[in-house]
């Protein structure tokens, strides 16, 4: 584990912390006195459970690569990670935001019920699984079963997606700019409306994403009833692109 330095906007602290609990305690302590916190220096090196359960409206910048459950149960903070992140980024998040300037792994945005996650890279399998609300924006490609069991909110993938896009989703919408290998059970494509285009434009402008909203396609559930959804067959046709 590498030591790192924790800096606050006004109060400079030099602390050599490496373990998850030490890091989280330092973040909480700094959030009492400052709205801007940075974990700099050597940064993270794959520690799990960093920045979990943040309830204060702070801006947290984290350098390095994070492990599993980064930003889980975040409700208010806006967190930026400069490197890659492992599994279950933003798990059970209900507000605030997480921006990752790298790739994410399995289960990005699992159980989200609010807030925004932006991945400026590729996301692993099962991105947006059981997502209930909020927005998950992947400015890259996504793996298999994106939006698995999704219940609500928006999911935007500017790149391509593998098999099972929207598998067993019963709510919300997925917008995809690239191609997908196959749609999941209970998922169907529908026409984009003006409100959809405007929604994408708003997100793209706010987060500096270069994508053309009019080329996107919208995926929604066939049925919002889970008992019907689990009996649905997967669409037969493979996607041939735009």
């Amino acid at each position: 584990m590498h030591p790192y330095e924790l800096h606050a906007r006004r109060d400079i602290m030099e602390e050599r912390l490496s373990r998850t609990h030490e890091i989280n305690k330092a973040i909480l302590k700094q959030s009492e006195i400052s709205k801007k916190i940075k974990i700099g220096g050597a940064g993270l090196n794959g520690q799990d459970n960093i920045a979990v359960g943040l309830t204060k409206e702070v801006e947290l910048i984290v350098e390095g690569a994070a492990g599993d459950f980064f930003g889980a149960l975040n409700s208010s903070a806006v967190i930026t990670l400069t490197g890659n992140v492992a599994r279950f980024l933003g798990d059970c998040m209900s507000g605030g935001g997480i921006i990752v300037n790298g790739n994410s792994d399995f289960g990005t945005g699992s159980y989200m019920s609010g807030g925004v996650i932006v991945i400026r890279g590729n996301a692993g399998d099962n991105a947006g699984q059981v997502k209930r609300a909020g927005a998950l924006i992947i400015d890259g490609d996504a793996g298999v079963n994106a939006a698995y069991l999704m219940v609500g909110g928006d999911m935007i993938i500017t790149g391509d997606c593998e098999d099972g896009l929207g598998e067993l989703m019963i709510g919300g919408a997925v917008y995809i700019g690239g191609t997908y290998s196959s749609l999941g059970r209970n998922a169907k494509t529908v026409e984009m409306g003006l409100s959809d285009v405007n929604l994408l434009d708003t997100y793209f402008k706010h987060y500096g994403i270069s994508a053309k909203s009019t080329t996107f396609r919208k995926i929604v559930p066939v049925s919002s009833d889970p008992l019907i959804a689990i009996k649905a067959k997967a669409p037969q046709a493979k996607d041939g692109g735009n």
């Binding site: 305690k25 979990v52 599993d68 059970c92 059981v130 889970p226």
Partner: protein, 370 residues
Amino acid sequence: MSCQSPYHDIVILPTYLFGNKPLDPSLDAIDTSLVIGDGRVQHPLRLEHSIMLADLSEISNIEARKALIYGASLGSLPYNMGLEGILRGDQDFVDEVGAKVIYPWTSNRFGVSAKMLNQATAIEIHISGTLLPSFKPMQEGGSSGPSMHMDMESPKDLKKHVDMLKEISDYNIPIILNIGAGNVYGDVKLAAKAGADAIVIDTNLLSHPHLKDLLGQDMGMPVLGIIPPALKAMKETNAKEENIKVLISGGSLSGMDVFKSLAMGMDGVCLGRNFLIRAFQGQGHPTTEEGKNDVTVEIPDNINWKQAGENVAMNIRGLTEQVGYLFAITANASKKTLTSECLRATTYDAASLTGLKLAGYEKALPIWMH
């Protein structure tokens, strides 16, 4: 409907001449308490009589739920919120009566937030629940969602969840693992390694009516068969040295059942539907009854929550009084001296399942001699 105690074939032996003399509960101090998280968290959960309430969230009757919350607070027990408790807005009434709460961390995660978790007395991770691979069926006024924790890819992730919840709660409150009574030995071993402060083995596998109809009653380890493998797993993982507690949930109807569980080695007991629904009916000190062993105990109509809550509290007090007397009669001032030596199995089956001495034979069966 009446229900039979699963401990029916085990008897308690009072002390007369052999061993220490019996205690007098009115004069001698008897400690039947359980502390979960002692030395592990800043605010451990203290249970005066080693009992707590099971998750009864499948009970949809609002008055019954209020009765449980009220009764728990009168009986000085934390209320086990359960998933449905969050959905049905139990929190408001919890705040009104000032009850302590155990919050669930289920596969569903409805309404979960860091703020909510930090208001709890303890957090309970549910690894039990239904067995369907995808959605739980919708219930009237209920919820649907995955039956498995979608953010657990393997048993190793269980420790990450425990660690995450400890971080969120800043190591203030205990984390409890609730696992269904399936492969008890294997599951308890994995659970002990996950680092939770207590493990609850839940006998109520088929709480969902749909699954009861679909799968019937032959599911899960019987109550008597749970304790020996659980204790073996705890021993092999040095859980006791790390002060991890193990409790059994469900099956207990009376203080006698609780005492038998404790004497067989459990650290505590969770009181489930069979006990509480009888308590709603104001049946006084619950006793075991002969009859059909049916888990579908029905809630009476027209419950007055205040009266029913007082009945629940009365029954809890009655049960704890029974436990205290049983400790005294068997000459145990605390759980430290309590062993299964004061129990006898009265049937071959009970002796086989539990490893207890068989009455008359006065030894454990040869299959346990190894």
